[in-house]
């Protein structure tokens, strides 16, 4: 494989698979924050 092809493959992997990892992490973290807020509202 040429150097430019390797670089573009890595860039695509980093952005797309990295984007997925970021999206999952953000969803899980926001879910946890919402849970805590909900518990505080229900049991002040």
């Amino acid at each position: 494989m040429s150097a430019s092809a390797i670089v573009m493959m890595l860039v695509a992997m980093l952005i797309i698979w990295g984007g997925l990892a970021l999206a999952v992490t953000s969803l899980v973290r926001h879910g946890a924050v919402e849970d805590r807020a909900e518990n505080v509202r229900r049991d002040p």
Binding site: M1, A12, I16, G19
Partner: protein, 541 residues
């Protein structure tokens, strides 16, 4: 429990729901990841700049794909209904757009099942390479028995039987309901699909010549970025791949608990779909690199997409490769799994609409939708003319069915109903990151403009030369007239009365995600993934 919360819970039990956000995300991924991810994306990327295609692809994903996906989610989640009911609740006069989407889904289901039947047959053919030394001759001659371009009633038993099996499987899954059917299948099949395809990619990467294939796919042609057609290809790929704009995501979002983060879920679904496409690109081109090396030709000479890739190129690869049977089972098995989860989502759009419109049980609606679809599918696509009809219907329904209804729906919601601010507010109640002006601009201007360019280029190509050189009568009958009939059918169906007691003006009572749940039995605020228990709708109201 307040009466409003009670009514909302009762309606949720009637319609069915996903038991958790995780199940919904898996089902949405199952819908988005289909045959196009495996057999369309790699070739589109290769043909449109190779590695440089990453740039327009990401721009299209972030400026049109995900914003449009979130719009679908907001419409379905806020209005808690199938596509026609959600549009009717947005404004009664727009109900026809929802039925137009339903009509498109019905048509897609009829021919999509046939491709799954072929893939199912080929999963077994892979074991002993039943296609022999001439995969192309076997596919068109021995398997499909395709003759001249004509519509015939000569049944091909080799297609009829697997097609009947596919429809039977779909019938069973959909009759089981939203959670026990669609949810359970997604929970099992999506991890299996990812695992199977990952094994396939590893196998492909170990083949000699794989590097040359990846080199062909990823070597950037930066000059391609100056061509409008390359950008249109990126917007088209993202649009067709994400299952947006024709009712699926509206329907699935209506089955999600009202306090869920739809924005975050949308980002996960969008990036999951692209992640799988990238994985498919690597696997397919590694295998094509091997095929090119084995034949002593350049990768460009063997690169292809669609039916030719799956049923001609891959059998050739399987013939030559070590552990070819394993590669075949993994590849065609992945096609079957990716296809069946998408097919299920397409038919669910129709079933959900029928159930919302009429007072029918889940089983009755499933039988009423699946049996006619299956009969039509068997009549049209298990014959010796099946492949020609399929090719024409697929082309026209995609280019002038899905694309037009998606574009119109988006424009109507954004510019006629001016509903984007309230839909954005709905997403922001529990969704993060928040959507604001940027999302509204992307959804009302950028995404429609991108889709309009794709549409204009498609019309230009189809007017310049008959699609694939097919005769005019075939293109008229199964192409232009069919796509013109779809909106007519849609707006006629919109004239039928709704079942008694259907709430039509705005979101139904109790659907506001900001209001307390009041102990409604469907809610469990202790866990985000357990905010609804999930229901498999059992019967009439």
């Amino acid at each position: 429990m307040s009466s409003t919360a009670g009514a909302a819970a009762q309606e949720e039990r009637r319609r069915g729901s996903f038991s958790s956000r995780r199940i919904f995300i898996l089902a949405a991924i199952g819908s988005a990841v289909g045959l196009g991810n495996i057999w369309r994306f790699p070739y589109v990327a290769y043909e449109n700049g190779g590695g440089a295609f990453v740039v327009p692809y990401l721009v299209a994903l972030l400026t049109a794909g995900i914003p449009f996906l979130l719009l679908d989610y907001a419409i379905g989640h806020r209005h808690r209904g199938s596509a026609p009911l959600s549009f009717a609740r947005l404004r009664r006069g727009t109900e026809g757009l929802g039925w137009w989407q339903v009509a498109i889904c019905f048509l897609i289901a009829v021919y999509y099942a046939a491709v799954l039947a072929w893939a199912l047959s080929y999963t077994f053919f892979s074991l002993d390479q039943a296609w022999g030394a001439d995969p192309e001759g076997f596919f068109f001659g021995e398997y499909l028995q395709a003759g001249d371009v004509a519509v015939t009633a000569d049944v091909v038993p080799g297609v009829l039987v697997p097609l009947a099996v596919v429809w039977l499987a779909v019938l069973v899954v959909l009759a089981l309901g939203v959670q026990r059917g669609i949810g359970a299948v997604s929970l099992v099949f999506i991890p299996v699909l990812v695992l199977a395809f990952a094994v396939l990619v590893v196998q492909a990467l170990l083949l000699p010549g794989a590097g040359a294939g990846l080199d062909a796919l990823f070597t950037p042609d930066w000059a391609a970025l100056a061509e409008p057609a390359v950008w249109a290809a990126a917007f088209g790929q993202i649009f067709f791949s994400l299952s947006i704009g024709f009712g699926i995501m509206i329907t699935y979002a209506s089955y999600v608990g009202r306090r869920e983060d739809m924005t975050g879920s949308g980002l996960v679904v969008g990036f999951s779909n692209s992640s799988f496409e990238l994985l498919a690109g690597i696997g397919v081109f590694a295998a094509l690199g091997f095929m090119a090396q084995a034949g002593g030709v350049a990768v460009g000479e063997v690169a292809r997409d669609g039916i030719a890739l799956a049923f001609i190129a891959f059998p050739t690869i399987i013939n030559e490769a070590p552990a070819g049977a394993l590669i075949g089972v993994l590849f065609f098995g992945s096609l079957v799994i990716a296809g069946i989860t998408s097919l299920i989502s397409v038919i669910e759009v129709v079933i959900s609409a029928v159930r919302d419109k009429l007072d029918t049980s889940r089983l009755t609606a499933t039988l009423a939708v699946v049996v006619p679809s299956a009969v039509l599918s068997l009549v049209l696509f298990s014959t010796t003319s099946g492949i020609y009809v399929l090719d024409v219907v697929d082309h026209f329904v995609n280019q002038y069915g899905i694309l037009v209804v998606a574009l119109l729906s988006m424009l109507v919601v954004a510019w006629v109903l001016r509903a984007l601010p309230r839909l954005g507010d709905h997403l922001n109640v529990h969704g993060r990151p928040r959507v604001g002006t940027g999302w509204r601009v992307l959804t009302s201007i950028v995404a429609p403009a991108g889709l309009a360019i794709v549409l204009v280029l498609a019309v230009r190509d189809d007017l310049a030369a008959p699609y694939e050189g097919y005769p005019t009568w075939l293109l008229l009958g199964f192409g232009w007239l069919l796509v013109l009939a779809l909106p007519l059918v849609g707006f006629l169906l919109a004239r039928l009365p709704w079942r008694a007691g259907t709430h039509l003006d705005g979101p139904p009572p109790g659907s506001d995600p900001g209001t307390p749940l009041d102990g409604a039995p469907v809610a469990d605020a202790a866990g985000r993934d357990r905010s609804v228990t999930g229901h498999d709708e059992g019967g009439r109201r």
